[in-house]
Symmetry: C3
Subunit: 467 residues, 3 copies
């Protein structure tokens, strides 16, 4: 048996009763709150036939379901398979990566339906939900999956649930400030999802700094097949990102344009990532860490601007730059953050989400500020930025300013929220593992015997496995 | 070489000639029957332009293809990747899991297109098919994949093909009785797919009881990476289940509503599964068997009611309960079924499909019985339950009674059919493996040398690989 | 450490500077060319509201995005996950398979958007792109992924990029000749993608013949889990092939019909593949190589005819035959090609793409030649073959002749192009590996220590691994 032993100051990581209690109580709370508040929106309600007449729709195909459901499913895959498998790269934390991601996301989407519902879909005392709410709930949880990447392998499932509860709440507040108060555009979430999620997670992991983490250094690497599992996550994120950035854009050209811009940005990002991955290694070999992560930066970096008239070549430029920044980040910034700032960032979310998220916010602000009626058309200009009602006098440059303000607000919310939540998670009651047991599934999971051990036991009852 | 040897009463598991003969003859039969019977439906036929005028459709987007194709593809993934990879958890049966599932499903969908076509799409001597038929064929085969879970690792590919032939036939009869004679609603198949498929499979495995199965006990477990492969199956089933339950619902609100209810039920199910998985273990560790399977029970349990006005909180309740029932089943019922009732259920389909399927049938009956014109709207009420023609006088409570009758019919068909088919599969002509060779790919597959063996050979050049 | 050593005439495989230079320069070229040429098409442009009025469209759902985006995403998955993972079957080349496929496809789609754009979407000096262009770019790159299969494991990433540059160019020329000059139908690309791509790749690998390749024979096989990774690729290709063949067909019945024909063909193909895989082995065991590849031949073989009135039983026949041809090819032709013709075809693309592609071209020609107004309807006939304008006098038999000519042109382009490109790739400047280092990730990738080695190093400095 080569399982880690709890040595020294053994911590109590037994989840029995604690984890079940949290899960069951919170699920009961969800049921009660859903019972009080959540109902079907008009397009999912059996009264739809009457609604259709009122809205003057001639066909069922006009139901929002058909505009957004395919994108929803792609986003759903990104959250559960994309993020889940991306984090399976660690040799002995695959169960935790995919399993805890599953747990926190399943809870998070319920709580997000409520939180976002109160802010955005509340009518006559009820939250009315449809497919767009499901997408937004997945988006919200995406920011938690991002933060999870920073603390991967170092936290108990209860800590993750507690973080999810708070982060979803803060996400919804931040989103409300940006979208409703500042009237900012951010369909793909460069600011609300990536910048907020990443800096939140980085702040949390800073607060939870573990000085003795090198005790589990042997488990912080990958093995050959764990790197291939991670590539499943990478590719699904990469392929479906056009759906992510277009999922909640306006019907028609905006969805269409978002998908094209994202497709272009991601393609360019792969080339610059490969270039810098090879360039920054003495022997010119490619590093799977970069390929798994930095290739995705292009999707993050057009999150705000994809639905705008960024243009395909603009997208190539943004994607190219973000691939470079992200790869350079893995090589130089991550070690610096850890050694100097005590930020232990397991998956390198600073490179994949934080910096590209900032780029995305800035690109969005610039693209908005540069918008003209000539480029968008008179109607398209108003529709793209929703310059109606109280906002009908907004100019592009003012919009650009508000977009920039959105970045700042997201950062402040992330730092403040992360500090508070990090403090809560530091309480010694949540059952996190000792430093030498980090990155090890055996602490929270029933782990099967290894194949190697099997072979060993079968063939070498009293001989060494190798000479 | 650490391959199992045929010892004792060695069975003839050589598939040469037998398997090719069955595959080729049956495929020829399919070609002949398709040639006689199967043609394109109006929406897939080149006469569509004329049809469109007759149906007064103004746009190609009204073609049923655009309402259902994305859901079809999701269902297709569930059948082939979902079920296939879910069953790869066994350490040495991954090829059989994914490969035999591929084989039986590929045959099954052809036979299902015919069987279901004769019952539901027969017009002027021809079966007219479209995307809805493809979905239904996949659904039908889903029930065979479920039954496969009970006998996984213990049967030859020919047995699986024989079972598929009979099960698809019986499924279609049962479905016809339920949907057409009893006028029962079951869009997600809690009764027709899950209850029928699971009890059919459990009856078959009971008939095929192997008293000496503990001889292959060492291969009944998983290894670390086989558990991760299985999670691919789990997550694709989980993520796409909203598509499964909504795929053949009425256009518009019904599809929309089905997806939302299923999304909610599945989210809740994850939390209660995690809670009970931890609670029922002394050390509070999570068990991958539960996470891989019981998290899906929520999708099964709203299969009948998802398109009804179950409401999101109703879905949370159903999902929560089914997660608990399923997890408890794995811990307590499965061992009981094996030791007392001699039901050897490799994947635990009793917990994932049988019990949740019954719950689904009951929830459907209750939800139907509780329907009111107030909740559904006058038109929505009639449309949701198709209370037209000879059924226009049906009341909700009568509908509830018929729904309940559908459960009973499905159970009876499953037990009777499973007993007959189990008897046929017991004939000693199908080439199944001896007990000590169960759960072992090497019997029916060319298996590459293990990586471990490689290492061994490399490091031990002058010693035998095995004692 | 069991890593290969550079022995004998060690080659310089260091990619530093060379790979980065190519990636960065080419990406800059893409940015410049996109900047000069590429703009949003009308349906993705912010002027869409005005366009909609001009086109007399009443709803956003009429935007081509909603007709094609779900199929686009499926095709996207096939290119990146399908082809990428299909090639991970080699025990030590998983990073190269999935990573280099990622690299070449990401570059290829950019270049294809330009090349195909100049030929097909050029208007007033600009290439106007929409979702159909994205699909076509993916299609074009699909032919490169096919060719990659022949040279897998034997080429440097720079060689792959160079090949992609030329192959995309030649693909676009060939496609233009077929679709525009010959007015040939080939929606699923039996000729343009599969026949061209495969014979191009086979010619390249012939030119790059390595006489000493048996030096890396120990790495040409699979291990248990690498075969399961490859099945991920297989299944995604198989499941989404109906989307592939229907993605760019006409709206309405043509897309619908293509999906049905492909579904049927693929189902039949699985049965005949399994039959012959078992039949051609002495012990009747199934071979994963066949299951991973030959099961897909049915999709290739209806690539041209799927959108025609091939009929479901016609599809079953084509699928059945192509499964047989492909499996027989793996058993008999591949060894023959290698030993006699010096064509080293790593993935057996001759069996999966070349022969089935030819079948597909022929079936398409015959199906076109056999078309009648009776079967298609007067309008349907004209629409299906686009017999309008200068082509309004074409008869089915003439169309059949042109289809046949399309096969010949594709073959000639493939042989000539492959020979030239093969010659270029033979130059000793691209950093390909020595024969004994083929099929080995360690040459171009940072490869983590093996789990086995870990166990060994950690636990067995001079002691048994377990007490």
């Amino acid at each position: 048996m080569d399982r880690p032993r709890h040595q020294g100051m053994a911590k109590n990581t037994n989840m029995r009763w604690r984890l079940p209690l949290v899960c069951l109580l919170w699920e009961v709370a969800m049921i009660v709150l859903f019972g009080v508040f959540v109902r079907f929106g008009a397009e999912a309600d059996a009264h739809w036939e009457e609604e259709k007449r009122e809205m003057n729709l001639t066909s069922d195909i006009e139901n929002d379901f058909y505009f957004r459901y395919p994108s929803f499913q792609d986003v759903h895959v990104m959250i559960f398979v994309g993020f889940g498998f991306l984090m399976t790269f660690l040799k002995r934390y695959g169960f935790g990566a995919v399993g805890f991601n599953f747990l926190l996301a399943a809870f998070g989407i319920q709580w997000a339906l409520l939180m976002q519902g109160w802010f955005h879909s509340f009518k006559d005392g009820k939250i009315l939900i449809g497919v767009e709410n499901l997408i937004n709930a997945d988006f919200c949880v995406g920011s938690v999956c991002i933060a999870f990447g920073a603390i991967l392998g170092k936290t108990s499932p209860i800590q993750l649930l507690v973080m999810t509860l708070f982060q979803v709440t803060l996400f919804s507040v931040n989103e409300y400030i940006l979208l409703n108060l500042l009237h900012v555009k951010d369909a793909g979430g460069s600011m609300t999802i990536h910048t907020f999620g990443a800096y939140f997670g980085l702040t949390v992991t800073r607060i939870l700094y573990r000085p003795n983490l090198e005790q589990s250094k042997d488990k912080q690497g990958s093995v050959y097949h764990s790197d291939l599992f991670a590539m499943i996550g990478t590719l699904y994120l990469w392929m479906y990102w056009p759906s992510f950035n277009s999922a909640i854009s306006d019907h028609g050209d905006a969805q269409h344009r978002s998908a094209i811009n994202t497709y272009c940005s991601l393609a360019a990002c792969v080339l610059t990532t490969m270039a810098f991955s090879s360039m920054l290694q003495k022997k010119g070999k490619l590093d799977m860490v970069h390929i798994q992560n930095a290739t995705l930066a292009g999707g993050v970096a057009v999150g705000t601007s994809a639905e705008m008239m960024l243009t395909p070549y603009g997208s190539l430029i943004v994607g190219s730059i973000s691939g470079i920044v992200s790869t350079v980040g893995y090589v130089y910034f991550t070690p610096f953050l850890e050694s100097r700032l005590h930020i232990q960032d397991t998956c390198g979310i600073h490179n994949l989400h934080a910096m590209p998220g900032l780029i995305g916010g800035i690109v969005g602000a610039v693209t908005a500020a540069a918008a003209t009626e000539d480029v968008y058309g008179k109607e398209g200009f108003i529709k793209a930025f929703d310059f109606t009602g109280v906002y009908q006098t907004r100019t592009p440059s003012i919009q650009g300013g508000f977009q920039a303000a959105g970045i700042v607000v997201s950062l402040l919310m992330a730092f403040a929220g992360g500090a508070i939540v990090g403090g809560i998670l530091k309480l010694p009651i949540w059952g996190d593992a000792a430093a030498e047991n980090c990155f090890e599934d055996d602490i929270y999971w029933e782990v099967p015997e290894d194949e190697e051990s099997d072979v060993y036991h079968m063939h070498n009852p009293d001989k060494p496995a190798s000479p």
